[in-house]
């Protein structure tokens, strides 16, 4: 242990930080750790009460009108939850793995870059992350798995069953952290469809499953402690500076791990004088578009969760040489069609496209040293090309169904709630910020965790992958 400080200073209490901490403590059970969390502990019980009491704005702290950042782009939202547990409080719990090819876009399709870590290397950590979150999922998946999912799959709707029959393993019950049967402190998911705050505490959250970790004796957790910068000297990160109340503090750790999300990790690094040319650059997220299918005579019924299935028909293949992969989600909220006799003869599908990082989309410093400037301009032509043929693709993959009409939203979603790519991982400092163990290429005691590490982003939801990467980083970096 460091005499005047901590073995580890961990910033943030979301997936990236707490999965890292879990594995780190398995390796170093006696380590003394300081956890700095900018927000408060706003419990699930209190959030629920506030919703019932109509204090909606208090409970929906993840919503997009943000005071923590400067966002000049009125078309784009950045959503995150700056309190204990981070995005686990408000996430939907969709947890598909990435496909093997997502790690090898350059090799397979000549596009962007390969990751410095492969699917095979990450696979055992995917299993661990799935075990921790008690993922519900099917036996057959488009990605290789060495272990079964811990919980059985969610039931498909009758529409899903038709699609499954047609597309086999390319259409599966969505792997998710919404429990298909009660487990631990979590109830069985019952399709209430308001996962941003689950009324029955079914989806995995840091609070309902991993809070015990920060309650261990050797952990000091400080709430309302906003890290501003680190002292970077030579090849090490020194003191961590933070504000709490109106006061400034600093603490020392042998190891420092940033898990503040891809916007704030980059901001902290830039504010600390990190001169890696890639820090902050390549801010990316998926692009989503809703499509409504109006059926003639087919009622859309059944299914045991809010998003019942994922379709991989438009995901992998040679088309990725020129346009983005797309993952399809079947949304199963209690929507209706206000037409007599056709009340439930419709479906709502979301088409989620990967994007390629562009250096012009970046997190930078602003005049207010506590707020990052999120300078995002537009998604890439790679996505535009894919979206341009959405109508054709819907026709190609869904026209075997009895469809009366199709409605495609005229706009893309303002956010997919996935903030990625500002501290990309790479083999060396000439092409990225961190290595495959999420350690900064220059400051060798500094981990930069989370989705900022993704060199390319895949159309799949990122959180399972970023949690698995945290487990890998802690497992392979400490003995």
């Amino acid at each position: 242990m460091n005499d005047d400080g901590y073995d580890l200073i961990l910033v943030g209490t979301g997936f990236a930080s707490i999965f890292f901490l879990k594995k780190y403590l398995e390796k170093k059970p006696k380590a003394k750790v300081l956890v700095l969390e900018r927000g408060r502990l706003y419990s699930h019980a209190n959030r629920l009460q506030d919703v019932i009491d109509k204090k909606d704005t208090a409970s929906q702290t993840w919503r997009s009108k943000r005071s923590e950042i400067i966002n000049p782009n009125s078309e784009k939202d950045w959503v995150f939850e700056p309190n204990f547990g981070g995005g686990s409080n408000c996430w939907t719990g969709c947890t598909p793995r990435f496909l093997e090819s997502d790690f090898k876009l350059k090799t397979n399709y000549g596009i962007a870059v390969d990751w410095p870590v492969s699917y095979e290397e990450l696979e055992p950590y995917y299993c661990m992350a799935e075990e921790i979150m008690a993922i519900s999922g099917p036996a057959d998946t488009p990605f290789k798995k060495s272990k079964k999912y811990p919980l059985p799959p969610h039931e498909l709707s009758n529409l899903d069953i038709l699609l499954k029959k047609k597309y086999g393993d390319l259409y599966i019950s969505q792997p998710s952290a919404r429990a298909s049967s009660a487990i631990g402190n979590r109830a069985k998911c019952c399709s209430s469809s308001v996962c941003q705050l689950c009324p029955v505490n079914s989806k995995f959250t840091i609070e309902n499953t991993l809070k015990y970790i920060v309650e261990k004796e050797q952990i000091t957790i400080q709430y309302e402690a906003q890290v501003t910068h680190l002292e970077l000297k030579g090849d090490l990160a020194g003191a961590v500076h933070y504000n709490s109340g109106n006061k400034s503090f600093k603490a020392r750790g042998e190891v420092v791990a940033l898990g503040a999300n891809a916007i704030f990790n980059a901001h902290i690094l830039l504010g600390s004088g990190d001169s890696n040319p890639f820090t902050g650059k390549g801010l990316t997220e998926q692009v989503g578009k809703y499509v409504w299918l109006y059926f003639d005579g087919l009622d859309n019924l059944g299914g045991s969760s809010v998003i019942t299935a994922n379709g991989y028909m438009m995901y992998d293949g040679d088309h990725r040489k020129e346009r983005a992969a797309c993952l399809i989600e079947n949304h199963n909220r209690p929507f209706i069609r206000s037409e007599f006799g056709k009340w439930r003869q419709l479906a709502k599908l979301k088409f989620v496209y990967e994007d390629l990082p562009q250096d012009t989309n970046a997190v930078t410093l602003s005049e207010d040293k506590n707020k990052p400037l999120v300078d995002y301009h537009h998604h890439s032509p790679y996505v535009e090309k894919a979206i341009a043929r959405l109508e054709k693709d819907v026709e190609k993959y869904f026209s075997f169904l009895p469809i009366e009409r199709v409605e495609i939203d005229d706009r893309v979603q303002r956010s997919e709630a996935h903030i990625l790519g500002t501290t990309r991982m790479s083999h060396d400092a000439t092409t990225g910020v961190i290595d495959k163990h999420l350690i900064h290429h220059q400051y060798r005691n500094l981990f930069v965790l989370g989705g900022g590490s993704f060199p390319t982003i895949s159309p799949a939801n990122p959180t399972l992958t970023l949690s698995a990467l945290s487990l890998l980083a802690a497992d392979q970096s400490f003995s």
């Binding site: 629920l48 009324p199 909220r333 209690p334 409605e407």
Partner: protein
């Protein structure tokens, strides 16, 4: 500008002001009631349940989810839509109308009783996922595989 063009401009402005003023001061809840009445006309509803829904939705500020512009958009479509004329973005309007009428039907036992047209539809409670969780009537709880 010619005198003729000037008169047309003034008249258009006047019509626009009158129409938008009428929408602003007319009651959104009334439009909601009319939409529900019209779309559920062929269903056997227990008397008074639409009024009860409209009243409870108002008390609960259910339509607070729509800002003033959206309310005007919905009302403009509702009052001006006809077989021969419709405003732009009609499908957006229909999505909102689905949501409003859906909220009413989800507050009744219609879907839970599997859309049975032979029985009288009862009001249960204002559709609220936190006050009545697990009540998605299309889920596998009601339609097991």
């Amino acid at each position: 500008m010619t005198r003729r063009k000037f008169v047309i401009l003034i008249l258009s402005l006047l019509v626009f002001t009158l129409v938008s003023g009428w929408f602003i001061f007319s009651d959104f809840n009334k439009a909601v009631k009319n939409m529900v009445l019209k779309d559920t006309g062929k269903l056997k509803l227990k008397p008074g349940i639409i009024d009860r829904f409209v009243e409870e939705a108002k008390k609960d500020n259910k339509w607070g989810q729509f800002n003033t512009n959206m309310k005007l958009f919905i009302m403009a479509h509702y009052y001006l839509d006809s077989k021969v004329f419709s405003l732009p973005y009609r499908s957006k309007y229909l999505q909102k109308r689905n949501l409003i009428v859906g909220n009413f039907l989800l507050s009744t036992d219609f879907f839970q009783k599997k859309m049975d047209l032979n029985r009288e539809i009862e009001y249960i409670a204002l559709n609220h996922p936190y006050k009545n969780p697990c009540s998605n009537p299309f889920s596998s709880i009601f339609y097991p595989a």
